[in-house]
Amino acid sequence: MTLTDYLYYVILPILAFSVLLIVYRFIKGPSIADKIIALDVLITTGIGIIGVYSIIHGRSTFLDTAMILALIAFLSTVAFSYYLEKRNRKK
């Protein structure tokens, strides 16, 4: 079994299964904070999947996308929590 086969048939299904679990929490999440956390972890798992894909295809260009996704995850979490506090303050 080569490295590509191992990554394709073992690692990617496990990552896809964890994405399914995170999406379950994203849909169910009792409070809005749970949904924001699930979104953050979803993007973090997406960075991992992009890393595995760049190993499978041998192209390092995919890592630029992962960098942008990491930036977007941080900025979106900061913005969401800022506006949650602001909405709370107005009441």
């Binding site: 490295l3 191992y6 929490r25 953050d40 972890v41 991992g48 960098m67 990491a70 900061v78 303050r89």
Partner: protein, 134 residues
């Protein structure tokens, strides 16, 4: 030889990501979910990206993946702190099995100041046992 190292790193990283996803579903409380995901998911993605750095083995790709690791490790605690603070102000409750709440009555509701002890203005304090359910 290097493919063995890549397999070990990527497998460990994937296990950590899977464990953080299971923790996200199984943990009883918002704050525990924040704690699980800040630690386990960050470590898992870091290990996978170290695996890509070992695989490409040239300067541009390795520095790119190390920059992503540095960025994720720097920003995960900050975002976890911000979302935990916002959810505490929103009135998201702790799990019933939690023994104590160290922040109880110490945040001020209007000025958002954190005091180190419970003061004599109890109507301004954020106290989950006096808030309605959300």
């Amino acid at each position: 030889m290097s493919s063995v190292i890549i397999v070990i790193l990527v497998t460990l990283g994937t296990l950590f990501v899977l464990l953080s996803a299971i923790g996200l579903v199984r943990m009883p409380d918002t704050y525990m979910r924040i704690s699980v995901n800040t630690k386990a998911a960050t470590l898992g993605v870091g290990l996978i990206l170290v695996g890509t750095a070992v695989f490409f083995n040239d300067l541009s790709a390795t520095s790119r993946s190390l920059v992503i690791i540095l960025f994720v490790f720097l920003t995960a605690p900050v975002s976890a702190h911000l979302i935990g603070r916002a959810s505490y102000f929103m009135g998201v409750r702790l799990w019933e099995g939690s023994i104590m709440d160290d922040l109880r009555g110490k945040y001020q509701k209007n000025s958002y100041i954190l005091k180190s002890e419970i003061d004599d203005t109890p109507e301004d304090n954020v106290d989950h046992s006096k808030m309605e359910d959300k």
